[in-house]
Amino acid sequence: MKKALKINPKDNTATALEDIEAGDSVKLASKSGPVGEIKAQQAVPFGHKLALANIGQGEKVLKYGEVIGLATQPINKGDYVHVHNVESALLPPPKEVKQWNF
């Protein structure tokens, strides 16, 4: 079983505590202890984020209980959440971001 951390109860994302593969079952922990499980639909590298709920295009992406950006396309529960489907609500990302391969 893989592990991810949901740092605030309000969050709709969790941080992967190890590399997660598509199809993996992921155990979720809060600050205080286990808070359930989720199935990863996509691969999520260590330190990156996993969607804990369906997030519609333009909807808020939450971590630390706060808005970290808006979804630029629909995100499904269990999907990988990063620069390909989220953008800052404050600042455009670096222009080069599309050319970078991650």
Partner: protein
């Protein structure tokens, strides 16, 4: 809750009982070090401030050195200089004297020569240490503690691991009536609105926004637009998606308490609770500013990777000799060997491994803060030998 500390004449409480030998300028570093090294129990305060800086930078230096001498961890101080420095050794001594602790000023000009100064310095340091070593620790409530924090070597999980645990420690100390200071103005860019929401008044929120705008304008003046470069490529590779996420991760170390005020660099807080200090993210400068503002213990909250593969605070951690620094690491370099155990005080990688919760690590860190306040030496304090001079904060041109 209580800790055992040293009561100072100004009502503050030290967690260490150092007799400091403070160099007033770069030229005096060797004299200060030689006097301090001649005896057991003295601590040299060495730094990089030269005499080719202008008004504002000299004022920062005065405030920093006077603040370090006035810090509750210092029982008594000798300021050593040539006599021609700016700030002068006398100015520094006068400021420290306001804290009512014993302070002496020695200059080559007044001593009529180097050897006279060294002889008198040795005489004074013996007297001061004889006095200081007879002081006893007494119990005080945690409200007498002021913590500082800095994060460094950020990793993919430092926001949710060490920073979150550190934030909980801040919250607990503030709930006990204590004080906590954080800084790094550049890191607030992207989360200014969130921090401003925590401000106790409109005025505090405005001062915060002004500090961030000033920092951004300063960066722009060099031809760089920080907006459009954040998060960095390395941040994005590590999993940080937006500037908001990066700044929130940095702010996680501040906990959730209301923001009581915005301090200038090295300015002392006038009340209890959480304070933001305007300043750069450069570790040595930042921690010196927090120490000058009176923090007794510093928490260095780190990520991992390469920066965790060598002794943490000696070089990149920014060593402030009068200040115990508790180093926390989220993801130590692997494999962790026995030698690495001496690098950090708190290993928070148990969060990543699923062996401990954030709450449990925060509890361990809080206990460590109290233990260090009562006299437990940090990993850095246990090391001898190499010594890092303090890098002095500066904003202006150098002559």
């Amino acid at each position: 809750m209580e800790f055992l500390g040293y009561e100072r004449p100004d009502g503050s409480v030290g967690v260490r009982n150092h007799v400091a030998v403070i160099s007033s300028g770069r030229c005096a570093n060797e004299m200060a070090a030689t006097i301090a090294d001649s005896v057991n129990g003295a601590m040299p305060v060495l730094h990089t401030h030269p005499c080719v800086r202008l008004k504002e930078d000299n004022e920062w230096a005065l405030r920093t050195l006077a603040g370090l001498g006035s810090n509750p961890n210092v029982a008594a101080a000798i300021v050593v200089g040539v006599g021609c420095e700016n700030p002068t050794p006398y100015q520094i001594g006068e400021e420290i004297a306001k804290s009512k602790k014993p302070v002496e000023v020695l200059t080559i000009m007044e001593s009529k020569g180097f050897q006279n100064l060294m002889d008198r310095g040795l005489e004074l340091i013996h007297e001061m240490i004889s006095q200081a070593c007879q002081m006893q620790r007494k119990p005080f409530p945690l409200s007498y503690l002021t913590l500082g924090v800095k994060c460094g070597g950020s990793s993919a999980v430092s926001g949710v691991a060490s920073n979150s645990a550190g934030g909980q420690v801040f919250d607990r100390l503030i709930a006990e009536g204590g004080t906590a200071i954080f800084s790094e103005t550049a890191e607030v860019i992207g989360a200014t609105h969130l921090l401003a929401k925590r401000a106790v008044s409109k005025e505090v929120a405005m001062r915060l926004e002004e500090a961030v705008e000033r920092m951004e304008a300063g960066i722009k003046a060099t031809g760089v637009d920080i907006r459009g470069s954040q998060p960095t490529r390395g941040n994005i590779e590590g999993g940080l998606t937006t500037i908001e996420e990066k700044s929130l991760g940095a702010l996680a170390k501040t906990g959730t308490a209301p923001l009581q005020g915005v301090l200038e660099y090295a300015e002392k807080p006038q009340s209890k609770g959480l304070f933001f200090m305007d300043g750069s993210a450069m570790t040595s400068e930042l921690i010196a500013g927090e120490a000058a503002a009176g923090i007794q213990i510093h928490i260095y909250s780190t990520g991992g990777g390469l920066t965790s593969s060598f002794r943490c605070p000696a070089g990149w951690g920014g060593e402030i000799p009068i200040l115990p620094q508790i180093a926390v690491v989220s993801t130590p370099s692997k494999p962790r060997d026995s030698q690495e155990k001496e690098f950090f005080d708190i290993y928070a990688d148990t969060i990543v491994e699923g062996k401990e919760t954030v709450d449990q690590v925060a509890e361990r860190l809080f206990e460590e803060v109290i233990a260090v306040a009562c006299g437990k030496l940090t990993k850095r304090e246990m090391r001898s030998g190499y010594r890092e001079p303090i890098v002095m904060y500066s904003t202006g041109p150098i002559l």
